[in-house]
Amino acid sequence: MHLVAHAGAALAALAGSALAAMAFLGPETGVEGTSGALLALVGALVVALGAGLALWRGLRGFWRILLDGFLLIAAALTALAAWFLMQPLLAAAMVLALLAVLVSLVTLVSHPQRRPSR
């Protein structure tokens, strides 16, 4: 399940990255060339890369909780930034990414994976 969730998060964050790039590069987005739009772009890329890393490495246990927690915060802050940049599509994409990461965390908590016994 967490693979699906991370895939969803990566896709949503990739879409967010594209939207953030469009907002930053303009024209006439109201935020083109601003440090706020650049920050949102970096935030969306970080979430996309982090979710991709989780998919690729299939992290478990502590490292997965750490990464998912980080992704949750990054997605939430990027969504907040997008909201204050008046980029509703970007905000929606990052909320989707956030929800996907949340699903990954919930599945981890409800189905904890144990180390294989020796």
Partner: protein, 631 residues
Amino acid sequence: MTCSLLTLPLRSAALAALLAAPALAEQTTWTGFHGDLASTKFADVARFTPATVGNLVRAWEVRTGDVSDGSGDRPATVWSATPVYANGMLYLGTPFYRILALDPATGAEIWSYDSHSTLEALTQPALKNRGVAYWESGQQGPCEKRVYLGTMDAHLHAVDADTGALCPDFGEGGILDVNRWNRVNARFPFSLLQPPLVVGDRLYLGWAGKDWEYAVAPPGNLLALDARTGRLEWELSFIPEEMIPQTGTANIWTAMSADPELGLLYAPVSSPSPNYWGGNRTDPIPLATSVTAVDLETGEVVWSFQHVHHDIWDYDTPAAPQLVDIERDGQTIPALVQTTKQGFLYVLDRRTGEPLFPVEERPVPPSDAEGEVASPTQPFALTPPPTNDPFRMPGVWWLADLTSGGQCSRERETYRYEGIFTPPSEQGTFLYPGTAGANNWGGAAVDDRNDILYVNSMRVVQVLTLIPREEYDRIQGDSGNEEGYYPQEGAPYGIHLTEWRNALGLPCWEPPYGTFAAYDLRSGERLYEVPFGLSQQWGFYGLRDWGSPTLGGPVATAGGVIFIGASMDNRVRALDAATGRELWSDIVDAPVVANPAVFTHDGVDYVVFVAGGNSILKDEVSDQVVAYRLP
């Protein structure tokens, strides 16, 4: 917000009823910066209504190519030109001092004229232009219709309105060197950034100078020129002759109004030099910082109303007054409304200069600066209510204070503030409104059918510090557009001016930073006041209740819609005139700091915005012109 929740709907309903008055004949031209000689900025077009403006579409968009952000060798541009619609064309001046004649329906260039003026910021921190002027003789033939463009280096160009060819009978081969009349204290050229006012067959010309640099500067004057030849017909100086060796300016750098029926021109006169210390000019200069009525034929002063005595705040009269006939007690009174940097709205009888609402002379604080003698009283116009509170500056904003560890609260106790006319000091004085004013060159709009005035305002707090000469010479730093270090050479003080912000760059004062309001000029009552626009920092938008600082003015239309740019969020908007509610908006390249032009061409109504930008709002400039129409 000053309206209570209970009264706002009633007032809005009353205003809506007033706006439903039958429209006058359709206006088809927009012949000047404020639309017409009366500077009403009222467009008699009825198809733009609260029900229809949501459907506005871009008719066309033009980029002139005349733009600089100042990063290269060329100074930055500051473009606040309002297009002139006349002769079936749209005429624009650019900050590279070119004229463009565009097809109003498509934006296609019909002709262009390049003045080849020097692109140096000779008197201003940036290359500036506020448009062109248009004249027609009523006869047929070459140069019987002309467009005039002024330049930073004091040349006035006259070209044929049909072809863009220079008019050889004007000045020397079509170019008039206005600096020939810069005969006294000529420390800088007469920069012609605002186009001349055209009344009949005359051009009335003011100029801009190098503010805050010198104590002794060219004395402000008004030049009346023959529209055909450029010959000087008369000249009026605003500084008493005996004061000229020790001061200067009190010039007209902004647009003017005129009432040809009364034979009067209304001149918004600025403050004398230096702007923030007046020890060299303690004798009265009655015409400085005034609105002055001048006989169009002779240049005689008919009356003058000084709204700041002994101005040491740079509270220039920033805009042409709006001329409006006010109905009162069954009588029609020819009036004018003078918007001011202070936020006072002076409503005067334009025949005599007598106030139509009480104006009080109130005691104001004395100065402790060396050699300074501040005026003991200043005029206060409290009806209609000022756009900005003259008695209390905005409080400390908790968010800025919190994020700076109490920096804002500490500074609030450090600097001097005892109401709007607190004199500049070595300790540092809060300027509220700031030097760019509550209102500036955009002025107000007025609907003459119901005597409703619409005006946007800016709520920015600055800190002005007088720096003793020796210390100034040691520490002087960079200067910019309305902030930084300025020498005031010849005065015992240089100055430092800055916005009151915390270490993170957040404003230390409470929002809103800008508002939009409507006033009933018959009663003097404010009908509504709402936050206007969105402020921005690093791209992030503030909340709607915070508003935005504003530069540039509104246009009122017969359909009950207000068009306005003016905000720092790069948006152009249509507002409901009855409530100030936003009906439509679009994002453009940079803040629109000029007035929009609204006109009808070939039966289609257009609103045209110039998105030029201005670093007073934010460091973003553009060369974009955008026209909107209904589908």
